[in-house]
Symmetry: C2
Subunit: 238 residues, 2 copies
């Protein structure tokens, strides 16, 4: 077959979401990573996830991968660190808009964003920059083997609250038909503008912020080859 003129298999797809492992595997406590951050960086410059052992929250922004530990400290991830779960892509804004009405909480933010989307049937990425009146976020402490289920690990989350914080929310919306592999709906992590604070967003209010939306066109799932994942019965209740 001839190649299409003007296209190249060499170029990374700018509208492709790459996901490491499946959300059902993470829910089952499969926290050992076998994808390095060096590998992950080849698939994106923007995203969210976690670290081997569930050792904190990950935010990727402008090609830098940040680790937010349970004590609230933020550091740049080492290339050799690994992730058991992450969503990343190369961010290119398809649509920019302003939030100018007051949004009281995360549900109102989700509803505001959902109204902007032409369809629920593709993934979208969101980069939301502004000064947020209130922001509630969390990180998680590193877990030891044998790992607990995700809900038991998250029960030990450490919650932080900030007021009038300059920050960027990094998020995705995944369609329902990706429910077997991903986490459908909206999911946000955040990092402060001064890179001193960050985590998984539990709640947020907004009054003025800039939203960039990236419409995604493909999804690449990296399937764990380790014995735990390969030996799981995912049809059994967790």
């Amino acid at each position: 077959m001839p190649s299409l003129a003007g296209t190249s298999a060499a170029a990374p797809d700018p509208e492709m979401l790459t996901q490491v492992s499946t959300y059902p595997a993470l829910q089952r406590g499969q926290f050992n990573g076998d994808v390095t951050y060096a590998q992950l960086a080849q698939d994106g410059d923007f995203g969210l996830g976690t670290f081997s052992g569930l050792d904190g929250e990950m935010v990727a922004l402008d090609g830098v991968f940040y680790q937010i530990s349970a004590d609230g400290t933020v550091r740049v991830a080492d290339a050799a660190m690994t992730t058991p779960f992450a969503d990343v892509h190369f961010f290119h804004s398809n649509q920019q808009l302003r939030i100018s009405e007051p949004l009281q909480n995360l549900d109102q933010l989700k509803a505001f964003l959902a109204k902007q989307l032409p369809s629920p049937n593709r993934p979208y990425a969101f980069r939301i920059s502004g000064t947020f009146p209130t922001l509630k976020y969390r990180s998680v402490p590193k877990q030891a083997e044998p790992y607990p289920a995700l809900t038991d690990a998250v029960a030990k989350q450490v919650v932080f609250e900030a007021q009038n914080i300059d920050a960027v929310l990094v998020g995705y919306m995944l369609p329902e038909y990706l429910g077997g592999i991903g986490r459908p709906g909206f999911h946000f992590h955040m990092i402060s503008a001064d890179k001193s604070r960050g985590g998984h967003v539990l709640d947020v209010s907004a009054s003025a912020a800039t939203v960039d939306i990236d419409f995604l066109e493909s999804v690449k799932l990296l399937i764990p080859q380790n014995a735990t994942f390969q030996g799981s019965n995912f049809s059994q209740p967790k």
Copy 2:
């Protein structure tokens, strides 16, 4: 982040399955293709699928994409033709074995193959070459808009039967957790060694054949951007 030494984003991933659209979309009669065979060939040299309008069965083998029309004729697909649904990858055998026991039907073949697989939690590709005592296969006639549901279109399938036919079965096994996007379980198309016959395999017996199995490690889903797919309510019953 530094790049991993020795890897390159330019190389196509040899263990990546690429799927065009979702099986639920195909079931709903979304038969207009918006991926050309030229594009598809960048993601694989082996696979199965169909053509825009459900105009026959597709088999890809050794980098050649074949169209099998409902009248049983086989032709090489034009690069400009499009597909509404396909699974392709670059075939590299990870394991080769011989079928030497008699397998009476497709279910026995599936059971034989399932026993060889170390886990049901990754996709596998199968290339099965031999002389098959019996082989029952079908193709489908091109549909007109407004398209019917897949089951209604397949009700008009044309069935062929062959005896002692030299052929290659081209197939995949997809894990259950891909059920939201793919068709879990085994799925085979076939092409005869002389490239004169082919189609979707309905039944087969085997007594001596060579099986090559390719263990796949990632899945790329190409999400249709057309209005029909984007406007669908996939949570509604078909």
